[in-house]
């Protein structure tokens, strides 16, 4: 069964450093998402991406964050200058539909645990 994959599984970085989290969505999916989950808290939406552009972003997704689909398979999240509070699990998700009123199922990857020291 196709699945979303993410690398690395765990990333440790120093505060102020740049990190890139990588995701390979399910191959026939067109909509891509990043979410984060701070330890012990609920999953929070960061950004959605369709047709090579951001379709929606949350207030968490400030200028320090960017997303890119550099080729036909990868979807990346870059954090330019990490802060301690960026420590969290980051989940990539992909889906076939982003339109409200249709089946909007999203399939999640296993996550990347980011630790900022």
């Amino acid at each position: 069964e196709p699945e979303v994959t993410q690398t690395p599984s765990h990333q440790v970085t120093q505060m102020g450093q740049e990190v890139i989290l990588r995701c390979v969505p399910i191959s026939n999916h067109l909509y891509f998402y990043w979410y984060r989950q701070i330890l012990g808290q609920k999953v929070e939406f960061l950004v959605s991406f369709y047709n090579n552009e951001i379709s929606e972003k949350s207030e968490i997704f400030d200028d320090q964050f960017s997303v890119e689909r550099p080729d036909g398979s990868n979807f990346t999240l870059k954090i330019r200058s990490t802060k301690l509070e960026d420590s969290a699990m980051y989940f990539c998700a992909s889906g076939t539909s982003g339109r409200a009123g249709r089946t909007d199922t999203q399939y999640f990857g296993p996550g990347t645990r980011l630790t900022v020291l």
């Binding site: 939406f45 339109r99 409200a100 009123g101 199922t105 999640f108 296993p110 645990r113």
Partner: protein
């Protein structure tokens, strides 16, 4: 505030008991999903419901979407220790947004 409240937050029951988890909001959702999440892993999809009043069954799990599409429930019959985990509801609001709003989660522990 876009909130999906789940109740109860924590539930510890004996093997063989039945339980129901609730997911409530004041907002209307175009679809609602239930996920199960293990520690250190991503949410794994259990079911999607899209029609008000819809009922779906997955073995011993029964999912219902409220008639007004503002709430949902997950009922587990004869719970087993393998059902232990964090259950999350997540919805797509019926306002054209594509993002998921996640519920606060219900942590279930089934004792043998």
């Amino acid at each position: 505030t876009q909130l999906l409240e789940q109740s109860p937050q924590f539930l510890s029951i004996q093997e063989g008991e039945n339980l129901t988890v609730y997911c409530n909001s004041s907002s209307v959702f175009s679809s609602l999903q239930w996920y199960r999440q293990e520690p250190g892993e991503g949410p794994v999809l259990l079911v999607t419901v899209v029609t008000g009043g819809e009922v779906k069954k997955l073995k011993r799990l029964t999912f219902q979407f409220g008639d007004a599409r503002k709430d949902s429930s997950l009922h587990i019959t004869a719970a087993q220790p393998g059902d232990t985990g964090l259950y999350l509801c997540a919805g797509v609001m019926a306002s054209g947004t594509y993002k998921y709003i996640f519920g606060t989660g219900t942590r279930l522990k089934v004792l043998a």
